[in-house]
Amino acid sequence: MEKTIRLTVNGEEKTLKIGVQQTLLEVLREDLGLTGTKKGCNQGECGACTVLLDGKPVSSCLLLAVKADGKTVLTIEGLAQAGELHPMQQAFNEKGAIQCGFCSPGMILVAKSLLERNPNPSTQEIKEAIAGNICRCTGYLQIIEAIRSFVS
């Protein structure tokens, strides 16, 4: 069964004909070619597929695309502006919070959304915010440090 949905992806309005069984992750990666959003466990446990849905971080592998109809999606591709990395991306670079990079899109989007809701999070609040995102390289310390660099 097919359905037409409207999504605002990284600021651009899209009208898409999708299969109702497609997840938002599949639509982003396969229909729109936005492969910055990663497919990890595909079961909502690892957070690699995180996108911001109306500003809130969600696992796009557990969201039917049809349920995102009319909503706004921000993926990692939407962060850099005019060739300039987003400050959170720069902070991840500078603090060595990136190794293989597979978790980074999700981590960075979660961090961005956390700071928008709470500009001065405690270390505990940062840890709670990234609780749904698994990193198997850095051991989390550099990631927390990168996010903490925005806290005054």
Partner: protein, 334 residues
């Protein structure tokens, strides 16, 4: 793993949803947030012909207080529950239980109704179709053997939802809309204790969970939820307990006027520890009593090895989390 094809319906009101469910004659699933359902569909645990989405029924998304009852629409997300000042103030244990479900990436999608209707879980059931293909299909997945008990025609999959224990401890009722109209029943009666069809909707009533009604707790009531899990960041409970205490004050100290202890993660339904409650009633809260009550509660559950955690370990954990929850609910310092 991709999802198989299905038809998808988005009724605009409950009546249409109930009609659609009836048209499918059992070969359907209701989808709320979908965070648990999609995993199950990817694992081919079921292959419904149709999904009936409750997304566009706006009457299911409110939280309000009226006549000393707090009503929560089944389609409120866990994030809605967490951001409700009414719930934070009047039902803090529900706030805690919502926080303990899943991860921050799931709570904006997952709903309170979905948690109440959560399927039971088992190490032989919640696996990919490839994993499961190495042995006969288990009873819960449609076969006729339970690999846990090695018996036919029975299922002992474990109740794993965090929110229902708190609601039961508060005496909550659920409102169900179905082909025969609307009815409300105490939440504990919603559950069947059958691992295969753990609640009346899965057992085929053709109903839809509409809302949850929680009586406003008396000022002397204190309720807490304690959850023990293998991964603190995201996991189903190994064991969880909701403890509700209604406290009185005497010269000799605080005593228990009323109590309710409900345990999740132990059996196919939430377990009310009724003997533990009896032990607590009208007694002064002192460490010896709490330890005794926790022992009794641990003896009232009958865990079966449906996960990698042994029943004996679960009993030990029960003693610890019940004691901790009693201390916290009773306001007793360490």
């Amino acid at each position: 793993m991709r999802l198989l094809e299905f038809d998808y319906f988005e009724p605009r009101n409950l009546e249409d949803a109930v009609t659609k469910v009836r048209e499918f004659d059992g070969n359907y699933q209701i989808i709320a947030g979908g965070t648990d359902l999609l995993t199950a569909l990817k694992q081919r645990l079921s292959a419904p012909a149709g999904l009936v989405s409750l997304d566009h029924i706006s009457s299911l998304k409110d939280i309000w207080e009226e006549d000393d009852v707090i009503t929560i629409g089944a389609m409120c997300t866990l994030e809605d529950v967490l951001s409700s000042s009414l719930i934070a103030e009047k039902l803090p244990a529900l706030n805690q239980a919502a926080w303990d479900v899943g991860s921050p990436l799931l709570r904006p999608l997952a709903t309170i109704g979905g948690n109440i209707c959560l399927n039971t879980r088992c190490r032989f059931y919640n696996q990919s179709s490839f994993w499961r293909s190495s042995r006969d299909t288990c009873y819960k997945a449609g076969g006729n053997i339970c690999h846990v008990t090695n018996k036919r025609d029975s299922c002992v999959a474990t109740f794993s939802a965090d929110i229902p224990p708190v609601l039961i401890a508060h005496g909550a009722r659920v409102r169900l809309a179905g082909p025969k109209g609307v009815r409300t029943l105490p939440l504990e009666q919603f559950y069947t204790a059958d691992g295969r069809f753990p609640h009346v909707i899965m057992a085929g009533s053709g109903e839809i969970l509409q809302e949850i009604e929680v009586p406003l707790p008396a000022p002397q009531v204190s309720c807490v939820y304690h959850k023990f899990r293998m991964r603190e960041s995201i996991d189903f409970p190994v064991l969880g307990v909701a403890v509700m205490l209604k406290l009185g004050e005497k010269k000799s100290g605080k005593y228990c006027e009323d109590a309710c202890l409900v345990i999740t993660g132990a059996e196919p339904a939430p377990v009310e520890a009724v003997q533990a409650r009896e032990e607590l009633l009208h007694r002064r809260l002192e460490p010896g009593l709490l330890a005794r009550v926790a022992e009794i509660a641990a003896s009232e559950i009958h865990p079966i090895k449906t996960s990698l955690i042994s029943p004996r370990y679960k009993r030990e954990i029960a003693k610890i989390i019940v004691t901790d929850a009693l201390k916290k609910a009773g306001g007793i310092e360490e």
